[in-house]
């Protein structure tokens, strides 16, 4: 019996650990496109950028129980043959499977405007973090396209290093989609106090510069120039290699509560981590693909357990998705922590402190709490998080 895990990030690692934890004794192969064992990505926009961490600093500890996992590095999946039960890799190698786990994660989205071919920086993996750090250290001004978490964290790190920063984004406020306008405005003001210049509601007409982009032009005619450009406008799920079967790949891989892909005649494909889309039963029945750090661990654990159960009993494990999405973000001395899905709320309620300072903010939809976000208030969040278990 062979489980093939494509993707050597946190979700793939946790799936393998969970399989062994649940007693699966068969073969496990993990394919990763980078030359590294699974490593922790959040520090890439913070510590690794500011202080130049090594890959050894970032690698996850690997449990003894997965010492016999077969790792294939520097290779990625091109296509899947569902009838033959195999995956073709970039190297030409063919990997067979009894159970296939998609853990291929996401890649940075690219803005399709004139000048898009000019080289820009993005930040998803260790190599990109090293390249950005090297170039940033010699720069006076950084232009960041996108005002999500990655863009804002890079902005904060750059300011710490004494680099001037302009943020250009289509949204009305930073972190607008996950946290809403009011919280976003407060975060923008924190950044502005640190010297970041924002160009929000911006319609980008094109990238400027030679072979390397050095700025952007807006439809208004305004030009925002710097030494280098970082593009951080969100991400796309890596699912192209799964085409040709019965899987729903509209936005990532649609899976059920056991992380099994919904394919009527194929019970052997699973998806975990950033690439998986599923209903969060504590909130509603709408499948969502949420890229928060704790979910690769939650989905990997669930998938390993489900697969082991299926292989032992022939039955699919049915258990509600009780995961509470959670993320944190460090910007300057402020630490933002979130539980739930604040992005689906229609109103907010500041329940402790004020938005301009340390605070706890509840996010409500139809009067029900769907998220809680704290700034420098980790110790106060526990009772709020516990309330999610009472929603439905």
């Amino acid at each position: 019996m062979k489980v093939l895990i494509v993707g050597a990030g946190l979700a793939g690692l946790r799936t393998a650990e969970s399989l062994r934890g649940a007693g699966f004794a068969g073969e496990i192969t993990i394919v990763g496109e980078e030359p590294h064992f699974p490593y922790n990505r959040p520090p890439l926009s913070k510590d690794a950028l500011a202080n130049g961490l090594t890959i050894a600093d970032l690698e996850f500890k690997r449990r003894e129980s997965i010492a016999d996992v077969r790792w294939i590095f520097n290779d990625s999946a091109l296509s899947t043959n569902y009838a033959e039960r195999s995956v073709l890799l970039e190297s030409g190698r063919l990997e067979s499977f009894d159970i296939l786990v998609a853990a291929t994660g996401i890649r940075p989205r690219v803005l399709n405007v004139p000048g898009a071919e000019k080289s820009k920086f993005s930040l998803r993996n260790f190599t990109e973090a090293q390249e950005l750090r090297t170039s940033m250290l010699g720069a006076e001004k950084l232009v960041i396209v996108g005002a999500g978490f990655i863009g804002c964290e890079i902005a904060a790190t750059a300011r710490k290093l004494g680099i001037n920063v302009a943020v250009v984004a289509a949204d009305p406020e930073p972190m607008f989609r996950p946290l809403g306008a009011e919280f976003g405005r407060a975060m923008r003001e924190r950044h502005e106090a640190e010297g970041v210049k924002f160009h929000m509601d911006a319609k980008i007409a094109g990238y400027l510069g030679g072979d390397s982009a050095t700025g952007v032009s807006l439809e208004s005619g305004e030009e925002i120039l710097g030494d280098l450009v970082v593009e951080a406008i969100g991400s796309l799920p890596n699912t192209e290699w799964l085409a040709g079967g019965e899987l729903d790949l509209q936005d990532g891989v649609l899976v059920d509560s056991s992380m099994r892909a919904t394919a009527p005649s194929d019970l052997s494909v699973y998806a975990v981590g950033d690439v998986a889309r599923y209903a969060f039963d504590l909130f509603d029945s709408t499948p969502r693909r949420i890229e928060h750090w704790n979910l690769p661990t939650e989905t990997g654990r669930r998938a390993g357990k489900s697969i082991a159960h299926f292989l032992t009993t022939g039955e699919v494990l049915v258990e509600p998705v009780n995961f509470v999405p959670s993320f944190w973000s460090d910007q300057y001395e402020d630490n933002v922590q979130s539980f739930g899905i604040p992005g689906i709320a229609d109103s907010i309620n500041v329940v402790d402190g004020e938005l301009a300072g340390d605070c706890v903010v509840e996010y409500l939809r139809d009067g029900k709490v769907v998220g809680v976000v704290g700034v420098n208030t980790s110790a106060k969040l526990a009772p709020y998080r516990k309330r999610f278990q009472e929603i439905n």
């Binding site: 959040p42 996850f60 500890k61 704790n294 959670s326 110790a379």
Partner: protein, 61 residues
């Protein structure tokens, strides 16, 4: 079992508290407090805490 938290790495997020609140807690000052000697029966939850630590600051022997 011995639990150790690298306080140089710990950012006091308290994610570990949700996995094993008898071992980890956040004080009124927001700082992490933990028990270093923990009964082996708690291993599973403590290992979950190791997994979910954003800073990967927890080790178990």
């Amino acid at each position: 079992m011995k639990v150790h938290v690298d306080m140089e790495k710990c950012q006091h997020y308290g994610q570990c508290v949700f996995e094993a609140d008898d071992v980890f807690s956040l004080g009124d000052d927001g700082k992490l407090v933990y028990k270093a000697d923990v009964d082996d029966s708690r291993r599973s939850d403590v290992e979950s805490a190791v997994d979910v630590c954003p800073m990967q600051a927890i080790t178990v022997e």
